[in-house]
Symmetry: D3
Subunit: 285 residues, 6 copies
């Protein structure tokens, strides 16, 4: 079960509120690279964890709990960036006036009402929402919890890699020192989280022990002649690109990479006539 402390994990400060940056921050809340995703992903992986060792369950739940605090920081940042957002088109027009704008220092992004998420104006009273930066709500099909620990670790590395990429883009997009400071913290945490899940892969035996995933399937049952072959699909049989993936031992140490031209091994797929009563046209029967 869970508990709270009133204070934020790390300070959130905004010097110059910017409603368009509020919109961009939404991607880090409700985007597929965002914090709701990792938070719920780690929770569901932890809550479903099986196996003799509860270490990974605990490790997942601690980090999931940290992530709630990251959503909280970002939601706070969105609300602070919306502090001076125009509520009406008139307000927006006034601000777009060069004279007014000059008085305000000329640095304020103009016409922001056009670039804002309209639901920031209409649905939330100037606060964060669980949507991405284009207003699409987060949907929990993105919570990957496969029941296979190694697969989950790679899903987590992927999530933190796109997450840190997003945080870097946001860092580059703003010049507000408070926002840069908050993002420098979140970027550091993403660095750690990338490492953390890969460290579990190392504990699980690294590439040689953990791969292919799942490692509990008897590999002699797969068509091993195709297990380490890169298939080229060039129409005229031109050779595919080469690289580490076409040459040398495979990374799991269980095969040798090669390159093959892919050719049909199967039949032409022909279905029998449609059945009476199946709603087809008579000509299909």
């Amino acid at each position: 079960m869970y508990f709270l402390d009133k204070c934020l994990q790390y300070p959130v400060k905004v010097e110059t509120p910017d409603p368009l940056f509020a919109r961009q921050l939404q991607q880090a809340i409700g985007g597929v690279e965002g914090e709701i995703r990792v938070c719920l992903q780690y929770f569901f992986q932890g809550w479903g964890a099986r196996g003799p060792n509860t270490k990974y369950r605990d490790m997942l739940l601690h980090t999931a709990t940290e992530e709630i605090g990251h959503i909280e920081m970002l939601a706070t940042a969105v609300a602070m960036n919306l502090e001076e957002a125009p509520l009406t088109l008139q307000e927006a027009a006034a601000e777009a006036n060069p004279v007014v704008n000059a008085v305000m220092g000329g640095e304020r992004p103009r016409h922001v009402v056009e670039g804002m998420l309209q639901r920031h104006l209409l649905s939330t009273g100037l606060a964060a929402m669980p949507t991405n930066s284009d207003g699409v709500p987060f949907d929990c099909s993105h919570i990957y919890a496969s029941g296979n620990l190694a697969a989950d670790m790679f899903a987590n590395v992927a999530a933190e890699s796109t997450g840190r990429t997003l945080a870097v883009r946001l860092y580059n997009a703003t010049k507000d020192p408070g926002m840069k400071d908050m993002l420098s913290f979140l970027i550091a945490r993403d660095t750690m989280h990338q490492q953390q899940w890969l460290a579990v892969v190392e504990e699980l035996g690294g590439f040689q022990g953990a791969l292919p995933i799942p490692n509990s399937f008897d590999q002699s049952l797969e068509k091993t002649e195709f297990s380490y072959a890169y298939f080229g699909h060039d129409k005229d049989g031109a050779p595919p690109p080469t690289g580490r993936f076409t040459d040398g031992p495979s990374l799991d140490g269980k095969g040798q990479f090669s390159a093959l031209q892919s050719d049909p091994m199967g039949q032409e797929s022909v279905r029998g006539p449609a059945r009476e009563g199946s709603g087809a046209q008579r000509e299909q029967m």
Copy 2:
């Protein structure tokens, strides 16, 4: 641009059609672990590829092209498993009759109409759909193409890891020899595809060269004191689990893992009153 050959990449045979297995196969078509996902993911990564080296663009497009053929094989398998599906509740009832069923060898799963995807009966005329095994349509928010090559490679490893896990579960779930044969091919291809994307990570410098992702961000700008620390969030400060992720050099060789109790560094988050005209209750102003 793209071309076709009438034949399947690998043979698809079904000895005993089973409408419930048709449903389960849908997960490999339109589930988040399925083939539409990897097919479009590799295409969009390839079509958006930037950089001096077109090798990875090509590598991605060849494999994307292979994946269309995998969807085709699975769609064929679904249609073949639906060949004898009951079209009506009466047909289903007849089959549930012990006498009828005994004649059929007693091995046929009964009451299948209840377990089927109803849209296999009602919407497709007994053919495959781009949905998962519970009937939820595939949605393209699952196509990860981040513009960062390393992040994309890990997303691809994650996709192929859950993909092979799914294929193994399907292999275990059926005893039809044709289906087992087809799945043994797809499992082998998933083995290769896990390897293939990790081989690119190796070419990109391995964990030390590629991490943290994106490696183009000047790491001195992040709060490095938190970049390699595992945070414990136990309510009473009990130490978090330990492991490779709390001890020793980090996998990117740029820090030392440690464990820290997480405590609030930030302020209590307090917002000013709601603005006049913002649709709040008067008491919030």
Copy 3:
């Protein structure tokens, strides 16, 4: 604006309630082939209609209004089919008992709790929902109202064609005389609605006057050498299938059908390096 009459457009009777048929009927309410779709589609087409002639606006709104009554009939039918649904797993188990079942005449589909939409039990108190037969909620991206009258008419023909196909499958799936009677009415209305939208196409000049859609675009601006050519994409250049679409005058009377092998006319697509600050890996720059 709109008005109601307490009675249904056509009688809805159920002799033998069947919770699985209740599930199947959901497809006709909230499936993409269902009545919510056509109802809202005709409303939005009507409400957005432009042009000197209000006839089509009115025609659309009358039929949209009829369709509300069809949703009402189907919702009533779902509730009636759920009348005797088991509320608990125990009830279901009792009914699955052969003795109990024999008493009930042996015709009742057994184990229905397994085949039911669980939300019929858990979310609605045994009533209809705006979802399809696999429980996926209707989503209004399926409301096609393009602002082009002819395009909309074909979208409507498509909707009524899949709609009548669905209704026929439902008719075939049940043997309840009340349900068959209701469906025989809905099938007749779908017959009319297919005709009705095609009659508008005839009024718009038929294929020759209305095509290509939109007919307001100056066709000399398109690459007319490709406007009536069927492209074969066989890998080895084998000729594509032939038929009416490869031979003779086009249906709009503005060209001659032909068949061509498709070959690349464009360049290889190469993108420059990723930009500094764009979150790519350094190797992409």
Copy 4:
């Protein structure tokens, strides 16, 4: 920020694992009446709270934090109910064998593989998912946080009312004593949460002080002649139903209820011709 304790808020025990009940419990996790919804709803309401009084922010965050623990309990319950689920159709067939089943006491629901969420078998390794009982993922458009405190309180009452209704249905659906015990706790919490949000409405002045929502809009600007009138829409002008809503003072004390037949006050809606270049048919211009 947030913290955890390894133990559950309340004991979760399952005497007889039942994969179909695991499916039904999913509605309480990822259904619109479920715990992810209220958890995130209270968090976003709290994080976006404005106004001089932080009491409601805190109140919301404490309860949101409690709700994480409820998701955890339910996820645990799902995993426990899936402990003995068949992994293969053969296993399922064996269990459906009357002899095997008799040995197991004859109480085990049979054919469960048909009634299970297929993704419990294929995607999670027998654990909970953030979906509803028909497999539809939770989507965060259901997080209502309007920026108006009173509107939010009613949204919360609605959520807890459908939530307790669901919990009661689940209580009725199972006879497992462990599950009944867990649900009796969750039902009690839902009772409190219904009360809690209504108590805030009372603090905000009750119906007379808080209504109409938002109470910050100058009511003289609305068309007050229609503010307390129930409109009948009978085609033939038959009077609408009467009740408290057609008679007596309104509940906000600011008007008198009445009943009116609704008649058109507006114009026929006619749009001008479609514009050149807008993609319409020529006949619409």
Copy 5:
């Protein structure tokens, strides 16, 4: 069944078309606070109504029928606000020219093409769509019809509270007198609809008779020691906020409010090893 009158329920006039306001109005059509939602919600509640008294069924259907007319008014308003929208980027650029703009009175929002819903340009021919103001289609999972009359009434109050809040924000956002007039009518109707559903709660016995919802569950079966306790989840046990919800008799008259620190009562949740064949890593078995 249903009928129409060609005229609108209330006049819709637009003095100065504004494509950005057209976008904002979409929230009132296809947003979760909008009219499609309440229209279909009341219809499904009415069509599924059970119980000896048909009054509530009728009351719901009359109001649902009114709501179709509200969608119609808003769709008309959207089309009218799009009358002068730029079809091309060139048109937009011309309008952004200060000289052109001065001629137009300088009041016209500039650069509107950037702020518009692109699908207003590309998909509808300048007409309304069933989406919200950020382009997300309405999805029918938002239709709450629980089978419990009191729960439904609170869901309706919540819908009309967020609906009126939205309408007030739209009223504040525009200065077009026609739009203000239309919205002043819709705001008045929302006032009534908030009252109307609360009047039903009063008829159902008010808070004391109707709560806890559902009132048909024997409250002695719930863990009543937790039924009226507000739980604090502060990490250090600091007392939670107090208020009406921690003190005095509960609003249903069936208990006394209190405040408690929440502490774990349950076990640590430990799962057994993963099963052979379940697709886990070997280390989990």
Copy 6:
């Protein structure tokens, strides 16, 4: 199975990159009128094709294969239009500076960062995504493959009609000669594809042979008295609009059009009381 050629089907050139046009092009990739839709629709129709004649299966698969190349062209065009997009708000502000802008020729759309899809900046590294022009991901419920060949052909005509309408709107919206050239090719292909599917309808017997769809249902089983009648739903019985759809022989040659006032033929729909244990309020029982 499938193959590729490195070159594009048709040249893609962009003279003046325009990030807002990149956004608009997204509709042609991931919108419901776009190329992912037709590509997957033709594939699933082909893969599920039944009947003695494989011609239509092949015809569908060739065109589906062509459509992959169209997505590729459009994805290339999006990336090229994003080449000079601002990565930061500062860059955008600089460009909005009149002096800077004048230097650039004054033709560059300003403030583009506000009008861009934010995910083009944040999620893709300036590349195409499988979403529409408002950022909503494509969802595969739009893949219509009904198992009825004629219904599918009309669905395809509808898709290509809205597709060509969209392409025409995009052609009108840009003045970039490269983009106009590319679109003139895609428009031509849409012309052909409209023709192609209608040619199949002709082969299937035209309107007289193919209608009503499905033509395999014995039409004597429908309520034929309503099969060719247009229903008026005017509240006061005013006659509905007349036209080809109310007069003359039906287009399938099987009936005569007429117009009828629609009146209730059915009963008032009354449900019994809610059942004990169904979660209703006691007053509903």
